[in-house]
Symmetry: C2
């Protein structure tokens, strides 16, 4: 029985699927499946079995879940407590939706780690909106940037950024193909909500690895892309793309920062949250990339459990 195994179990239970847990942990799916198998064998109980609508807990699994969950949290606490005591670099793990991650997460983290007096190790991961509450509760992330999650118990969400979502393309066509980034596949995202409101069928959606790629495809006349107005503005000014009106755009969207309730929130998460309210942060969100040399753009560090 290791903490890794317990962490995998908790995530599977909370997310209802081995696959989703594997994605949240950024490992392959058999890795989670095996961790679960090892725990099952060790405890002599299936713990969680396939049922209609996801994995459902057995009697033993139901008893284990709260205990395992607390052990996972305590594991994270233990690391934090000792590191804080000796003034070691604290770590801040940010999980963001694909849209946020692509443009603003890295510059924001970079600016934050340089402005804070303490030494801080930042890391950002990409997650679907629906996974964020679980990641926060399991201390796999300290801050979530994305949709509003304040309805979840124990979490507080506050808006940190407001923007306009527009459709861009070359020429208006009656039944366009929509070119979106991976968040189009995340039911909780603004992008997919917008596509739902437009009643766009699956077959007229193409998912690209990131927004930049989707925009490029749109510029080639492949269809319409969804973009944040201020981010795509330069390309519109250069004439590569035009803003195309639709029944539901321009739409105002809000990004929220979500953390655990203050009493259970790590101090660093609170500091980052406050940072997001500063003029500097706002500036970075409006014009990401400005002032940050490319070399400082670290590749995203994925969310990890302790090693």
């Amino acid at each position: 029985m290791t903490l890794t195994q317990l962490g995998a179990f908790v995530l599977v239970a909370r997310l209802g699927s081995v696959t989703r847990a594997a994605r949240a942990l950024n490992v392959s799916e058999p890795a989670v499946s095996q961790a679960l198998a090892a725990l099952r064998q060790h405890l002599g109980d299936r713990l969680i079995v396939r049922g209609p609508g996801g994995m459902t807990l057995t009697e033993g699994g139901a008893r284990l879940l709260p205990i395992a969950s607390q052990m996972v949290v305590l594991g994270a606490d233990a690391e934090g407590a000792v590191r804080a005591a000796r003034g070691a670099p604290e770590s801040l793990r940010v999980v963001a939706t694909a849209e946020v991650a692509e443009f603003v997460a890295a510059p924001l983290l970079d600016a934050f780690t340089r402005r804070t007096p303490r030494e801080v190790e930042g890391g950002a991961g990409v997650g679907a909106g629906s996974e964020m509450p679980v990641l926060l509760h399991n201390r796999l992330a300290d801050v979530a940037l994305g949709p509003y999650l304040g309805d979840e118990p124990g979490l507080v969400s506050e808006p940190v950024f407001r923007a306009r979502l527009v459709a861009v393309g070359t020429v208006p066509v009656p039944r366009p193909v929509w070119l979106v980034d991976p968040s189009g596949a995340d039911p909780g995202s603004e992008t997919s909500a917008l596509l739902r409101r437009l009643r766009v069928p699956e077959e007229r959606i193409r998912v690209y690895p990131n927004q930049t790629a989707a925009w490029a495809a749109a510029a080639d006349g492949g269809g319409l892309a969804i973009a944040l107005a201020h981010l795509v503005a330069p390309r519109v000014q250069r004439g590569e793309l035009r803003v195309v009106g639709t029944p539901v755009t321009p739409a105002e969207i809000r990004w929220h920062a979500t953390t655990l309730a203050p009493e259970r929130r790590p101090p660093l998460a609170g500091a980052f949250r406050r940072f997001l309210g500063t003029a500097d942060a706002l500036h970075l969100m409006r014009t990401p990339g400005s002032g940050v040399p490319p070399s400082r753009f670290r590749p995203p560090v994925y969310v990890t459990i302790w090693s």
Copy 2:
């Protein structure tokens, strides 16, 4: 960071010494030292350092201790919860002083496991009286049989047996050599308390691997042994040994059963405690070995953390 490592750390911190922790865990002493080293490296903190009068915690170690302690307890809880849910054999870990372990622990456990309707796996380990509170708190043992420990916070101790301690030998001599079992080396034991009251110097004490061996040596004229009157009675009747009067013997002693306070006590520990109050149990303590075929005398299973 594994549960094993955390367990080792907690025990070292609580017992104040690597050596004692190793003995309590029934592993070699470098094993504990290494577990500690691994944890130290992982967390980047010494955690606990040699100081005057045992190991003392660093700032980081002090913060880690309560967290680690709870994780260890939760680890034990997790196993128990799942096992109980599926009706698997529960395990009862009894720690006893050497005197108790030698004669009565095995028969008692054996009788208990056969009388209880549930399936129970029993195990007994030998520990010094001073280690017992820590073992109970860390869930390394469920019940401690030995001296009174009720002064410890969180523990309840109640007497389960009363007996007379006598000195036995062949002929009275002025400055006898005392032949004792390992509990003579445990400062908390009745035996060593008795030797202290007699002001016996170290050089006139010989420690034997068990009481039976000490009695045999005494019968050979090697000196005086300390024995429970009712246990040594057969040999006295056969004339192999005689009871020798001393200023402090015969002494009445009490064995106590100690568990965690009721609200934190595993159900099985409560059941065993109640069993100790039955006539059957009393009979076994008075005439151990009676009625239990030798084949049922399992070798003691040492106390282990989860595997």
